[in-house]
Structure formats: C-alpha cells, structure tokens
Point group: C2
Chain length 212, copies 2
C-alpha cells in the first residue's frame, strides 16, 4: 500500500522523504495517522532497487555556493521513472482482496483522480460488499449473542454497526454519482456563495493519460 501511495505522490512531483511523509499525511489523513519513517525509508529503498524511482540531484541551480564544507548528507530527492509510472498504473488498476480493507481502499480512493471510471466503480462496489459483510456480522452478533456480552461491548458493536451503515450509504452515493458521470458528491450549492470553479471537469482531472 505504501508503495502505491509513494508512486502516486511522486507522479505529481519529485520529493524527498520528509516532504513525502507530509504529503502522505495530508492526503491520507482521513485513513491513517501518519506514516512512520520506519516504513517510509525502507520502502523508498525497495522502490529504488526495483527501478521504479531514482534519486534526483538536489540543488537545481545556485548550488555550489557551499559545495563541500561538511560532507553534505542533506536531502535526497526521489523521482519516479517511466517503469514506476507503469507500475503505478498496474497497481491502481488491479484490485486484490487488500484493496477493500480500510487502508487499501483509502489509498486507492485517494488516487481515484488517476483511475479510470470502470476501475473506480469496481473498487467502490467491492468496498461496499465488504462493508455490507461486516455489517451483517455485527447485526448477527447483536441479534444472536447480545445476552452473552456486556453493555460496553454491545455499545461498541452498535457504534460499529452505525459506522458501517453510514459508510454503505456514502458508497451508494458515490456509486450513483460515478454511474451518472458526475464528480463526487457535488460539494455544496449554498456554502461560500462566491465559489468560482464550478467543479471544472465532470470527473476530475483524468486528462492525464500519457501526454509526455
């Protein structure tokens, strides 16, 4: 999952580790707390070894002013390669079981702007199915094993069930929008009256396909 997220972000622009982590946190903040360096750096190394990314030279110009006072270990900027872009496209399109768990779905969703509509639909429906299963499991427990469980455990189940129902409804909306070819859940008509931008492309971006 980290691999996918990194390739996705580097596709937007080259970055060094620290920056990558910040962007990752901003983009996936709704999903996971913050990526750990203990995952990030080894993954970068792995990606580099596989040839999906390369180290880019830091200091584009105006460098050389302080050439080699200390050994200068500073920032290492990573850049995606052509193979990396291919890899990203492949990862984003293929959906395994891990695509539908909380983290996997979140990462895929975060890059929906770079995903074709058929895949988006497939992923949304797969996720819905998975959440529906979880929901049924919780309902079963609440219906059949309620007397075995204490009030706190039951409350936890209820809260979880509620979250499932809510997410299914959210997904339904997204699926409906997707089928009608509109952007996700039109922001709001009322808020911030002077909202220019009228949701520029029906589905966002997506003109990004191979224009080198």
């Amino acid at each position: 999952m980290l691999e996918l997220a990194i390739l996705g972000l580097l596709q937007e622009s080259p970055m060094h580790g620290y920056e990558l982590r910040k962007e990752l946190t901003a983009k996936l903040g709704a999903i996971r707390a913050a990526i750990s360096y203990g995952s990030l750096y080894p993954t970068l190394r792995r990606l580099q070894a596989s040839g999906w990314i390369t180290e880019a030279a830091e200091t584009p110009a105006t460098a050389e002013e302080v050439p080699a006072l200390t050994s200068r270990r500073g920032r290492v900027v990573y850049k995606i390669t052509a193979e990396g872009k291919e890899r990203f496209a492949q990862l984003i399109a293929q959906a395994g079981p891990e695509t539908y768990d909380d983290t996997g779905f979140g990462v895929h969703f975060a890059f929906f702007a770079r995903t074709d509509q058929a895949t988006r639909l497939r992923i949304l429906e797969g996720r819905r199915r998975k959440i529906e299963e979880r929901r049924e499991g919780l309902r079963d427990v609440l219906a059949r094993a309620a007397e075995r469980l204490d009030a706190y455990t039951l409350e936890l189940q209820r809260h979880g069930l509620d979250a499932c129902e809510r997410e299914v409804r959210w997904l339904e909306e997204l699926i409906a929008n997707e089928r009608s070819g509109r952007a996700p859940t039109v922001p709001e008509p009322g808020t911030a009256g002077g909202r220019r931008e009228d949701t520029s492309p029906p589905p966002p971006g997506e003109s990004r396909t191979e224009r080198p």
Copy 2:
C-alpha cells in the same frame, strides 16, 4: 494489544486457539476484521512462556475412551494464571499512547466492564482528545489546502471529518453517562429498572467471576 485481549477473554473461561479467535472476532468485530493465526499462536506461546497462561488438560471427564489411537494432537486448552490476572489488571489500568489509537481504544473499551470507572473516564477522554486532534488536522487540510487536492481526495477528507465529529459526539455521550454513574447509553428501558448507582458494578452483569 492482542496480549490484553487474550488475557481478557481467558479470564472469562479457558479456551483453545480456534475458539479464542472466534470470541475475539465476536467481541472486537467492530474494530478489526479477524485476528490472524499468524498472530494468535505466537502470542499464546509468548504468554505461556511469560507464565500468564498455562495449558489446561483437555477432556475434563469421560475421556480415556479413546486413549491413544493416534498420537492425539488435538485441542490445546489455555487457562489464565494468577499472574496473568495481575498482568491483565495492570495492562487494563495503564494507558500509554497506543491506548488511544483505533485498535488500542477498541480493545480497552471492549473490556470496560472489567475496568474501574476512573480509568474508563481517563481512556474516554484521552480518546476524545486524540480524535479531536485528527479532526482539527482534517479541518486544516480542507480549509487551507483544498485547492491543491482533487475532488476525490477532498471527498475522502470530508468523510473522515464527518466520522471524527460523529465519534466525538459518541464519546461525549459516553463520558457524560460515565460521570453520572449510569451504564452506557441505556440498553433497554425494560431491563433492570431499579439501578443502584454507587454499588460496584453500575454497568453490566459481570457475575461471571470464578465459577468452575
């Protein structure tokens, strides 16, 4: 976390691995999908090595009927020890940072019936604080970096923000109930009208202590 959950469950009754997993899944179904055997068995081994649990003899009576046809590798029943109970009490009472992440909080909450009120309150408030921080982070991104992000990413943030707000409200309710000495979100109006507040367990039954 697994350690805590296992000790908690074995406190209710001895179990073998498979059963443990099922109970774990029922109790924590709202939190995590299903515990993996790849975590469960090594953890059991670790707990046993530490002396918190022991293997109990299977086949309480009426055994011996089929003594040793095959080498009989069947079920291994685990049982909590006195030290294990102490360990559980210690783990349940002390709250580190991991107590407030999704999984940690869920496990602690699932055993609130075995947790004293002061600790319950402390954990609920710690969790609320953490979710409030996540919420603020999401609001910041939505307010300050909205134009940098595509419509799907924004939708993800909105959904996450909504979930945060909802959970904070849920926690507020639980905290209020806790302070007033009532059980969580009154289960049913029909059950147990006369509620003795100050007596040890205002919450649920919990008469399950030591009945061999």
